[in-house]
Amino acid sequence: MTASWVIDALPEEALQVARQAAAQRLLQASLGTTERTQPDESGLRFMAEALELALLDLLQGAETLASTKGALASEGDRLRIATDLFHVLRALEPSGSHLDVARGYLRTGCVGVLADRGADVARLLRGLTVIDELPLQSLSWGERTAAAVLDVWLRMLRKDGWSDLTTVQERVVALRANQREFEAKYLERQGPETARQAAWELVLFYHLAKGAEILARYTTQGESDAGFDVREQLQGQFDRALIACGRAELVEWDAITRLLYHTSLQLVDNSIWTSTRAINPRVTEFVEKLVSRERAKPLFDLLPPQRRALREAGLRGGARAIVVNLPTSSGKTFIAQFRILQALNQFEREQGWVAYLAPTRALVNQVCARLRRDFALLEIQVERVSPALEIDSLEAGLLTDSSRDTQFQVLVTTPEKLDLMIRGGWEAKIGRPLTLVVVDEAHNLGTGDRGIKLELLLATINRECRNAQFLLLTPFIQNAGEVAAWLSPESNSIVELSVDWSPNDRVVGLAKPRQVPDARAFSIQLETLHTTHETLSVDDDLPICVGRPLDLTWNRVRRSNTDLAAATAQCLKSRGSVIVLCSRPDWAFSLAKRFQRPENYVALGADARLVQTYLQQEFGEDFELAGLLEYGVGVHHAGLSDEAKALMEWLFENGHLSVLAATTTIAQGVNFPVAAVVLAQHQFYDGARTAPMPAADFWNIAGRAGRADQAAAGIVALAASDPEKEAQLRDFVSTQVSTLNSTLLAMVASALQAGEKLELHSLFYRPEWSAFLQYLAHTYRQIGDPDRFAQQIDRILRGTFGFQRLRDTNREVAQLLVDSAQAYGTRLVGKPLSLVDSTGFSWETVSITLRRLSEERVREDVWEPSLFSGNSRALRSMMGILLEVPELRENLAAATGGRGADGDLLARIVSDWVNGVTLPDLAAKYFTITRTGEHLSKTDALTECCRNVFGKLSQTASWGLAALQAMTLGERFDRMPEATQQTIRNLPSRVFYGVASDDAISLRLLGVPRQAAQPLARSLHAEGTLPVSQRPLLEVRRDLASLGAKPWKDAMGNAGDVYWQVWSILEAVR
């Protein structure tokens, strides 16, 4: 039983047949299959009418209290019916005159909006010429008016920026202007049998036109006719329009007018103005900016989860901890922005600030650019601090800026950096309260040592920052409520999807090769899979293509998943951009090269040419990726610099690449839709091992597929070259969304399993336990007294998510952990624990390292810029010491390309890196020959080089050096002049950024690519009075944006122009 008696009256089987037929048509259109099955057209049309009746019945019922059945109808039933109908109508293309076709699409569009698929409707209409074909200049006033009415309402659904909404208002004004000239003549020409009907039809059209005008005004201005009673105004026009339908029995217009009425109310509901009315002036101002004409893509409507978040889920009421548990493309960023504004407003008097945490450097940059862009007009300062685990002098200046005009209000960074700041007492140093922590990709809480660090950071903030509130953004976890309750048992809320809504249509299936009579050719079939995520599925396999794409043969695709994936992508790319996922960077490159074929050759446009030149500058003339661009294919993986990755994303998003061969790094980097995602492998590789991709990551990537062109559903195809692989992948896709578990559970279990006694001090060598020990040491330090620590440890542990879960599942073990923590506390008495907070090492590591520094005679006098001269004994010693530090050694050892713990080698790489040796030279020098003696190609060596330098060396070595500084700098340092102190403090940052001066560090902090930073710093200095590092960062950024290419050209000659343009793109200046 549903809430709809109409649906209950329909034979279930007929409904299923219609659903399958509609899904099949949609999928065939999405796959671009030429041979389409012809469903029973009249059966589908009948079902469309029946579903529409059901929908109208529920809509009317919801409005009329008298209809108890309708009043009881759940929102869910209405959405389900509207969604079914939307699918059926999309499968039935309207036919007839231009007016008939337009009315058909208007109907489809209305139903789409009522199904909460407004974004799909807009895309559908953007892909059609139906609006352009309307007879707006017809000599028949009746036809002309009908055309105008269809035009304005289709535009209201399409809402292609301001132009559509402005046109709506212009069309209605034009109708009024032309009425006198055309109307009388038109009516005179009618015979006695049709004149009156034609007149009533005009009455209908005039009311409908006025309705569109009201809605267009409201959408753009948040009011209509100087009032906010837009629903009542619309109701007035539609009531009269429906009366006109009744007067002349205009059956063909009656139902569409009803649909349009409910649609118009839904559009009011969807409007950003409606959900944000009367919250606070800052939000209203923000909305005005989002809607404004100046924006390239004004935001008029909110998505269903956004509306829910704003209205119901505690965002208005300001729950202290909110978990937004939504898939990709559900508009999480907007929810975060809204929450940020609220938090800033709440603590305006205190000048509160917000921390936005993103897991990677690339995401930090991306989020920062977006927030900056959106908040710029509100004069909200958004800054980022580098993920480097130290605060250099420039960052210190930025953080402690106390001028109201320039101080940051939103700080974007990584969890590890915020952890360092919180433990280093930076909230007090900043002098303003932390009021909100936004955690992006919060499902990372459940993974590895980064997960436990994030958890403990949140626990620390929760304990120590009085005003802190939390907003966690995550895709697909089962226990969002539990996580929210952990952070604030008394004031929490979650934002989740209702099961009936998904951001777009999507199919997940296996791409399987099949032999065809031509011995070398093959076909690829898509077997759709049922999933937990409301994706489309049909019973029969659907053909993707047949032949020999990329000149591949049956023998190859049945043996190689990579070949099969490449062939699948080649077939799908005509439908829109395709991401092909590989498990390793080198495989991504080799896959990309399969597309290097004459049929894929494209003449590069200016943007792609720019990126090509940049890549050649950075990676060498013969860098393979530069050549690949000419075949519309790019790569994206950890073996590229951040800038190169960001440029790949940019080219891909702007349609200059049709295929992007990527590793899972793309999952958290692409926030725009693609037509298809093809998985060559379903595992990921972390440099040492491969493991199946976690379910959350898979669905995160799958969520990118969809809504690429008009009628299309997103395709997620998993290449399955043989039956064994097929079975594995079916299993993989059916994996349920997981519960987010604290890493602490696994840590305790694994320690106990290994027969260890949970003596915490002996576990320090494991990075995840080191994080836990640091948490204990930090709280011990805060409490400052062994007895009170012992008393409070139970409470402190309860502040973690993991302990709560542990207590729920095994109280005995939970108690054991409390006892162990107490015992550990007694070991901390009298220790200089501030070193734990400032180094990010456990006390045990600190103590061993102090001893090693003394043995190696590394003292405070080693901290000179000459440290990176290339033959510094001190640097060699320090690298040797750092290679013994458990928190660092794995990454550092790996950074040498797997050659193990070689301090001398590390010191040489670090020195070259700091002194500006180019990536190709670094690759040639250090990464051409593998540990096993194998010679790598230039491309593979560069990939290795980037993966190690960017992914491991720069971050880990700079962290290590900063830690060693904290342990060695003493009185002599305090006596130095301030400028010298700054230079010394910034030495670890040189390693982080790969540059050799403070000025260059400033520019790197502002996003300037490494090769440009040094020369540009010089050129900017020549023009100004002070060196760059001594000027406020904001001022330098403003200069960079306003001076154009000149300083870059002065610094680097012709290449300067390329770097300037790339910087403008990366920093969203252009």
Binding site: A9, L10, F46, E49, H207, K210, V251
Partner: protein
Amino acid sequence: MLVHECAYGPAGAVVKWRGNLVTDEQKFISYLSSTVRDRLYDVEHRARFEADMRALATSEMEDRTLRALLEAEPDRQPWEVGEALAECVLLDDGALWPSHTDRDKRTPKASLPGADLVGFVGEGPEARLAFGEVKTSGDLATPPGTMTGRSGMIHQLEALALRRDHHACLLKWLHPRCVNTPLWETFQHASRRFLATGGRDIVLFGVLMRDTQPNELDLKNRALALESNVASPTDVKLTAWYLPRPIDEWVVLTGGAPK
């Protein structure tokens, strides 16, 4: 009730036909000038019309031309009387036509796609959707031209029987006209039958209004031809009415618009 006698029939299976002969001129005239006249003319027109025009002003369009046109009392055509007559005799026979109330009776009925009449027959769970086609013809030939050809009644009924999406479209039209009225239950019963049978459990009426002598050939052969295209549970009922006054006089005989 229009008193009549059976001229021929009832005959047929799925498609049934019959002829009704009205001989009493006075009773016919009285029927026209009372029952049919009420159906054809609207005494409340003025008040409703003023409200319509006041509302039109809120659309900021001019109402002068429309007002002039819609205010005028148009001359009725004989075929309009024929349609009203058909509605009335079927009403007498138990059919229900819900869209009667909000209609502007001065505006000729022309637009229902494929059906002149839309409503129900039967009561309670037996209620079924009913669609009707009406033709008025003084053609001396038998069958009259209005029965044949593409715009003829038989072709229209055939289309009605086959285009199930058209019925469903008419169902949507009926829905708001039944909701919150005494007809709601009837609507639901009829709709359930309709939906459960894929749109087949309906009744189609074909009404032929004549001023000639009864002749079974007006209907019989056409009915048999139609039979091959219609199957149970759809029922088709063809009725020819043979009326005692010439069609040309009907408009006058209704007595004209109420003053």
